[in-house]
Symmetry: C2
Amino acid sequence: MTAEHPSTDDLAEAAAGRPLDGLVVLDLTTALAGPYATLLLAGLGATVVKVENPATGGDSSRNNSPYYGPEGLTVARGGDTDMSVSMMGRGRNKRSITLNLKDPRGRDTFLRLARGADVVVENYAAGTADRLGIGYADVCAVNPAVIYTSISGFGAGRPGKAMDSIVQALSGVMFTAGDPGADPVRFGLPVGDLLAPLYAVIGTLAAKTHRDTTGQGQHVDVSMLGALTSLLSTEPFDAFQQVGLPLRTGNEVPRLAPFGIFPAKDGFLALCGPTDTFARGVFRALGRPELIEDEDFATRDGRVRNADRLHAFIEDWSRSLPRAEAVAALAAEGVPAAEVLEPADALRAPAVLEREEVVELGHPEQGPTGLMGPGIPIRFSRSEARLDRPAPHLGEHTAELLARLGGLTEDEIALLRDEGVI
Amino acid sequence: MTAEHPSTDDLAEAAAGRPLDGLVVLDLTTALAGPYATLLLAGLGATVVKVENPATGGDSSRNNSPYYGPEGLTVARGGDTDMSVSMMGRGRNKRSITLNLKDPRGRDTFLRLARGADVVVENYAAGTADRLGIGYADVCAVNPAVIYTSISGFGAGRPGKAMDSIVQALSGVMFTAGDPGADPVRFGLPVGDLLAPLYAVIGTLAAKTHRDTTGQGQHVDVSMLGALTSLLSTEPFDAFQQVGLPLRTGNEVPRLAPFGIFPAKDGFLALCGPTDTFARGVFRALGRPELIEDEDFATRDGRVRNADRLHAFIEDWSRSLPRAEAVAALAAEGVPAAEVLEPADALRAPAVLEREEVVELGHPEQGPTGLMGPGIPIRFSRSEARLDRPAPHLGEHTAELLARLGGLTEDEIALLRDEGVI
């Protein structure tokens, strides 16, 4: 992580050999779902130009507490170079330009940039992009080959306030965790926000393949609710309910017994023993090899019928041991088992760090922060895919990119600046 | 949904105008993570050839209870045409060929097919593909431009039994739901399995773009643990903990109050009021407009400080109302709110059905089943993306595709069949 601002030339060099090298993306997104989509495109090598409103301080994520700066991590913003942790993560490998799109000169400038862009990504509320004159029809009019990707709560043009918890509630996902009959469970990982960007990137790249074949661009439209509900429907919850299997079973799964999360002396462990072989391994690890011959537990049917007793045996055993010791005993018998980790430990596990699936975040001036954030969890044998450049400050690349991508003259840029459009 | 087996010609016709039309994918995957990746590729228009072992009955998902057949939904398999609900969902728009890859003639036949393939996808245990002679090096030797995508638990070549609960445990995700200090929460939606395929499709399509530019194929390597842990690290849980904010807050979020899941007379509702405007809407919906001027609740700082009292006011109000009525009252005041739906209702909501994000599953002979499964949650303005063909029975397309894609003669195919290789 460099402590200097990288120039665009440096970026071009670093991007050589990335899979999406040369792809130009105009990024109109804010908050989480949209910026995560363009973060992936940036890490895969696209030139992502983040368009931010100078009148509002740019992407709302720039104002998410906590911040990082010369004083380290702080709840309130201190000096000018303080950057929100959210932006340090989501802004990496992007360039930032300021442009007030509510001003007709801002819109015209955007459309000049859009003439040379491959992709536009937006996550405005329904109707906003069209009202601003930067919707798919507007961009298509100046660049028919553009791929224009919209991420919304409920589908392009469908109104509704799509906060993560709202999407989770409507998707059914809150009733997949917890004990039968218990309250629904709000999930801390914002799956309502974070699945749509993955499908949006898939859609964008599929449309790129289509364009490479046909020359045609198109509109790609992904909804947060559809993404999460669709993924949920991959599990046959529906069929389970119809044949009388419970939808929720809490931390244990009786129909796969022995199977579940069990308490240890110093935490919890996960154990999965749905086959005869695994179950026998569990009995040996527990020091109860006689259960292998016990008719109540010898077969899968028996174990399912006697799941509560079986899980109680495991709990009696695991409670008395440190979790690492219990996991080691199960692993020695070939049983799939793992410690249940807290996020802080999970993000620092050697496997994910070595593979750069999780990486340390850097601040543009302060360098390494000790805070962890997402890498690109895809490894390519012949390409690089990496988030290795710190997030830009607001508007850091405005003049350079308006000239290079939009063809604006120095005088034009100076005028826009004087008039507060950039 | 047709009640006849579609011929490959029908499939080719239906696939016209799909974004990945013409892309040939050899699918070596089993269970859930791998098959979901190739399901998305199939829905996007790729020709996906599922390679299944005739000696074991093919993909293990074919033996997941419950089944669907002439008797409807059943726990045990009945007749020959019964198909597991898992396969009815995951097998759509794929072709199935049988090939015993442990037999050298099976391997040779596979490599003949691989010469003409664009993509191979596999999710074998570490070392298996190489041992069978169908690893990346083997396929690359006959087809250097191939994109070879591996989905594994912990990364290509890293051993370990990666069941969904094990991956969830190691990712930290189980400590993002539930109350502070409570047990970890196992999530029913298998996020340990289902994120890796999304990144695998992104990686495959990014490698396709790279190949279209450079002519080079490559190995794409995605791990289940890395995919989930990376996605988890998009939220600054790490920074929150360091500034003293709790990682887990259960169903309410005090730092955003009023915000959370609240009980109603007949279920639950989600409510998100983190801004002044939304909070005022909540007070009006509750019939407590005086709180707008109350210094304990007028500002965000006040509401956060008094979050427990504020959330108790909401609960007192919401408990007495049907959830639909409470949501309507909040919506009338512009507050983001929603009923918390059960999966069965969520999968049948008009919005996701109209957009084909969730669709009805069909059985190859029985037709529509009344069971819901995933669509492709991406809409394209100029292409089709749709899962509209029922899953094949085991080996249904063997002879046809060995001839067409592998160039095998009728005699060669007959010999392989006689000797049990196909």
